[in-house]
Symmetry: C2
């Protein structure tokens, strides 16, 4: 169930045991992972240090093999490998679950290069809201307190 085919090794990147382990973990993941999550998925027997995970991820990013992100309102970094094309996620504001969005709204109609003289090479789109379960829970918990103001609409 955690099986995914490994992507080809990033060209120009030296192959070492720690790097391969991180690469495998990333390939197996179905969503962006934090360093801590990634670290937890490595066999403890590997004896790898957290700092190494950071360094490997940085190296991978510099080789254009992974992308560093952050979820809105969170300040911990998430890393996802750059498969062909790119992916967007719908993120539940309650349980933080990340649901992949099937199609990028811009994959057919590219974003206009609005800002004068600005050359767009990349973009990030994230949808925020509530998954079915959390929406239900919220309805049930209604009235317990006068909840905070609703977030600004999309």
């Amino acid at each position: 169930m955690e099986e995914k085919k490994l992507l080809p090794w990033p060209s120009g990147l030296k192959r070492t045991k720690p790097r391969e382990l991180v690469w495998e973990a990333l390939c197996a993941a179905d969503r962006p992972l934090s360093v801590t999550e990634l670290f937890a998925r490595l066999e403890p027997s590997s004896g790898m240090a957290v700092s190494t995970v950071y360094r490997v991820l940085t190296a991978l990013e510099e080789h254009g093999a992974v992308t560093k992100t952050t979820m809105m309102g969170e300040e911990i970094a998430l890393f996802a490998l750059n498969r062909g094309g790119h992916k967007h996620y719908a993120i539940c504001l309650a349980c933080h679950r990340q649901v992949p969005v099937r199609h990028c709204p811009f994959e057919t109609a590219p974003v206009e290069t609005e800002a004068e003289g600005f050359t767009v090479t990349n973009h990030r789109l994230e949808l925020y809201g509530y998954c079915r379960e959390c929406l239900k829970k919220r309805r049930e918990a209604r009235g317990t307190n006068g909840g905070p103001a609703p977030s600004n609409p999309a």
Copy 2:
């Protein structure tokens, strides 16, 4: 040059000197600010503590008056007040300048609620690329080194 009209005070939020100062700084800003930037823009004579800035911003966020964000690849929080509607930015990968995008691509055609059962309440869209100046600099600096692989395309 740093003149902007103050937005109406967030309803239900107690008025205090520190809060007003933060609010003014946010209204004057033309882009999301980090806590450090915000703190630097306050009169030193105000004697406000950084922790207060954090607390004020949290309060403002809970009242739906501001939004907490992060730039891709950065892990420091940025705060922007929620003016009517919402805004998106084109961010220069070289100089980090944030150029506001005029129109939200979704303001006419809302994003489909793709993920099964997922209720979208909000979204974030950021464009990454290079502003005119940095693009020129990059062209000139060409050949100095075999720069890193280009990021994945948009």
